[in-house]
């Protein structure tokens, strides 16, 4: 197994009127080829910003302040802007949340995909269209030739998301960042796409970072899981480990509040309180005010513990079973 993506100490800040806010705080993880890593967190936890930071697509007032993003061993952050750009789409690609918005409404699907082909490969326009058609066939779109002629508004949401995935796959990138790609879709379509993605990963060996707030999706799809809270990864490990025996109180709370993982008829447990604002985080462990296990020591920086296969950032982790 080769490591497709390795993130080390990634930190991204946003300048606001009240000073810099750290949206991604010292985040490290790695994903191996052919594996799917679920990056899980509530809204505002910094999971999407992490995705955009990996792509190098953070805009003002945001800035990546520290860390490394190694795609197939090359640190994206060491590269000049143009070299970085040429890695995007070719070595690392991205799929977005809302398929209604990711395609340019006034250009034909085929033109948009052909543009994406030709930016990295010097081929003729018709060859690029052929490549686009093949890509659509790979993601299971019937009558791909006709779809290429269509404008985005003529396709359904699920179809558009398949187009976006096909576009991301055009150059067989080592890594795809998928930013909640099924959140905006119907549950039935969601299922189809998840199955399709699983198959593609197995066939192509692409590594996927699947950014989502939906633990249910991740537990059925991902090989590995990283849980983010207030800009930090608080727990990570193989999906089976983390779901079966979560060690961080936050992860525990998340899993307990998933309806599907429960006996019907019982009252769902909830995590008290709400997501903290990044502008004024409590000192030490940011989960402290909501945590049932919190003590005085939690006002200091929590330590890493556990193994590579299952690590946790907590003063009082739950016992591994």
């Amino acid at each position: 197994m080769t490591v497709a993506l390795e993130v080390k100490g990634l930190t991204t800040q946003f300048g606001t009127r009240n000073g810099a806010v750290t949206a991604v705080n010292d985040v490290s993880f790695s994903v191996q080829s052919g594996r799917i890593m679920g990056l899980v967190g509530e809204s505002g936890s910094g999971k999407s910003v992490t995705g955009f930071s990996i792509m190098g697509l953070i805009d003002e007032p945001g800035r990546i302040t520290d860390g490394q993003v190694l795609v197939q061993g090359t640190n994206m952050r060491d590269l000049k802007p143009d070299a970085q750009r040429s890695m995007r789409g070719r070595n690392v690609a991205m799929v977005f949340q809302d398929p209604m918005m990711t395609l340019n409404p006034v250009l034909r699907v085929g033109d948009q995909m052909a543009m994406a082909v030709r930016v990295h490969e010097k081929v003729s326009k018709s060859a690029a269209w052929d490549r686009a058609r093949e890509a659509l066939e790979i993601v299971g779109i019937p009558a791909a030739g006709e779809r290429l002629q269509a404008y985005p508004h003529q396709l359904s949401g699920g179809m558009r998301q398949r187009v976006a995935i096909a576009t991301a796959l055009l150059h067989r990138p080592a890594v795809i960042i998928a930013d909640e790609p099924t959140t905006a879709l119907d549950v039935s379509i969601q299922g189809q796409i998840l199955a399709e993605v699983r198959r593609l990963v197995d066939e192509t060996g692409t590594a996927i970072v699947w950014v989502t707030h939906d633990l249910a999706v991740v537990s059925s799809l991902a090989d590995d899981i990283a849980v983010m809270y207030a800009g930090r990864i608080v727990e990570s490990g193989t999906a089976a480990e983390v779901i079966a025996s979560p060690r961080h109180p936050y992860t525990r709370g998340l899993i307990d509040s998933v309806p599907g993982l429960h006996e019907p008829g019982q009252k769902l447990p909830q995590i008290p309180g709400s997501t903290p604002q990044l502008a004024n985080l409590p000192s030490g462990c940011p989960f402290r005010p909501r945590c049932p296990r919190a003590t005085e020591i939690c006002a200091t920086q929590p330590p890493h513990s556990g193994t590579d296969a299952h690590s946790v950032l907590c003063h009082h982790p739950l016992e591994a079973s």
């Binding site: 806010v21 509530e42 809204s43 910003v49 949340q97 905006a184 633990l215 998340l254 909830q270």
Partner: protein, 310 residues
């Protein structure tokens, strides 16, 4: 699954949810002050208002008083002392009028016309826009058709024809400007009210036995006000510019009631004879006025735009 909403791309620390009116005003002001140009523009407007509405106090001469004019003082260069025993800082015109005084009085006329035309157009526009948005159906179709038709015609052309029909004079000009400009307010009101109307709180207010008038003025109006403020500033500036243009073209105010436009028009006759001060100075006053008002409007737009709030 935890009770979370989807997030898109970045984390924005949200403002505290509840703000009092005073706090909102203070926030508005501090946002406004982000641009020093806009603050300067506001100060300039204050000065202009002072010298124009206090024209009789600050100007050395009353340009309306024909008896005070001396033909011997005609075409004095800026900085020359005239028969009145004081220095004409900006020179005198062909009738011996002190240009500085004429500009102060002219500014007063221009501002008065601009402000009253803007205010009246605002009233008419709000009424038309709200009526259309509230009643919908045929009424809306007809009113907005007329408004759209008018909007596709340039205001200057409409004003020109109206003034030609109505004749010269301050009230005629104001009327022409109102007819030419109300459509902008009507369109803005209608657009904003249409959006608000679709929202639940208006439905809620309509389903209670509140009188129509109350729903319109207590519920709809406050919500369509912000975009209207922006349009109003821009329209006052453009009313002033329009009036000046009409006067320049010779269909506005006569020189006995000088507005900035008529002063410039008068000065234009002499630009080939090196008597630049007759047209340059009133023109500068006009430009500064119009640009300052537009800059203020621009900044208000920026501050009120919800997309710009961080």
């Amino acid at each position: 699954m935890p009770e979370v909403t989807m997030e898109n791309t970045m984390v924005v620390p949200s403002a505290p949810p509840e703000e009092t009116r005073a706090e909102r005003l203070r926030n508005f002001w501090s946002d406004y002050c982000q641009s020093w140009v806009a603050v300067l523009a506001l100060a300039v407007i204050a000065v202009l208002l002072f010298v124009s509405f206090g024209a009789s106090l600050v100007s050395p001469q009353d340009p309306y008083d024909m008896a005070a004019l001396d033909w011997l003082d005609a075409f004095l260069r800026p900085g020359t002392e005239g028969s009145g025993g004081y220095v004409h800082i900006l020179g005198t015109d062909n009738a011996g009028r002190d240009m500085l005084s004429a500009i102060f009085y002219g500014l007063r006329t221009s501002l008065m016309i601009g402000l009253s035309a803007g205010a009246l157009a605002l009233l008419v526009g709000i009424s038309v826009g709200l009526t259309a948005a509230y009643f919908g159906g045929r009424v809306e179709g007809l009113l907005m058709r007329i408004v759209d038709l008018q909007l596709s015609m340039p205001a200057i052309l409409l004003a020109l024809v109206l003034v030609a029909m109505l004749g010269q004079g301050i009230s005629q000009i104001i009327l022409a400007l109102v007819v030419a400009q109300y459509a902008y307010f009507a369109r803005t009101t209608h657009g904003a009210a249409k959006v608000e109307r679709g929202k639940d709180y208006i439905e809620a207010a309509r389903s209670t036995p509140l009188p129509t008038r109350r729903v319109l003025f207590r519920h709809l109006l406050p919500n369509v006000l912000p975009p209207l403020i922006v349009v109003a500033t821009v329209q006052v500036a453009s009313a002033i510019a329009l009036e000046a243009t009409l006067s320049f073209l010779g269909v506005g105010l006569p020189l006995t009631e000088p507005s900035l436009g008529s002063l410039i028009s008068n000065g234009f006759k002499y630009i080939h004879s090196d008597r630049y001060w007759l047209s340059i100075y009133p023109g500068l006053a006009l430009m500064v006025t119009v640009v300052a008002i537009n800059l203020v409007g621009d900044q208000v737009r920026t501050v009120l735009d919800p997309r710009n709030s961080r």
